[in-house]
């Protein structure tokens, strides 16, 4: 693994189903983030984690949950998917420090029918 990876690349999901989007980084970054990107709205933060064992809510957390059991992995779970969660989901990570950039994964395109 080099950098930050996401799986799956894309998924079509029936409404009401449970889904976990995976995110893994090998850069030993402290902080990790989940965003959704919808047309014309840019990226909106769903959840974040400053360090392993801690998580926090972003701008649009409802319907999503995250966990951070270790430094490398930050899965995002939709407990019961709804069509409004159709979006492109990006995971990102950032090393410790205020003035550092975020590194983004390639994204997961999710369609909820």
């Amino acid at each position: 693994i080099a950098g930050i990876t996401q799986a799956p690349t894309s998924q079509i999901l029936a409404a009401g189903r449970r889904m976990t989007l995976r995110c893994t980084q090998d850069m030993r970054h402290n902080a990790m983030y989940w965003y959704r990107q919808d047309l014309g709205l840019g990226l909106r933060l769903i959840h974040y984690s400053n360090t392993a064992g801690t998580t926090g809510k972003g701008e649009v957390p409802d319907g999503y949950s995250v966990s951070r059991a270790n430094t490398d992995d930050f899965p995002l779970t939709l407990a019961s998917a709804v069509p409004s969660q159709t979006s492109v989901y990006f995971c990102a990570s950032k090393p410790h420090g205020t003035h550092n950039e975020q590194f983004f994964g390639p994204g997961t395109r999710l369609t909820v029918l």
Partner: protein, 113 residues
């Protein structure tokens, strides 16, 4: 709500011309960052400017920051067809527990050969 708003939403220029994109934001910041996104891909960091800086250069990129007007601009000089992408500004607010970024809606740049 979005912290950053970009202007214009779309920009079409000829190869060799300069491209200028503007970003306005609402609250005090630690830094402002510009990212680029090619179609269907994740975001890539371009440049970060701290709140105590006024101008920064990186290759053909020039970023300015005016904290009194809460605005920033990104200038791409001598544009190339390969610069075609969406460009996003993102702000890291003061007292930001998660070092979170708030993204604008982006500017879609098309550079015609």
């Amino acid at each position: 709500s979005q912290q950053g708003e970009e202007d214009p939403q779309a920009l079409s220029i000829q190869e060799g011309e300069n491209a200028t994109m503007n970003c306005s934001y609402k609250t005090s910041i630690n830094n402002l960052q510009w990212y680029r996104q090619n179609s269907g891909r994740g975001l890539v960091h371009l440049i970060l400017i701290r709140s105590n800086e006024r101008e920064k250069h990186s290759g053909r990129l020039r970023v300015t920051l005016d904290t009194s007007k809460k605005s920033s601009s990104l200038l791409i000089t001598a544009s190339r067809a390969a610069d075609t992408a969406s460009y996003f500004c993102a702000t890291a607010r003061l007292n930001n527990a998660g070092n979170m970024l708030t993204f604008g809606g982006g500017t879609r740049l098309m550079v015609k050969p």
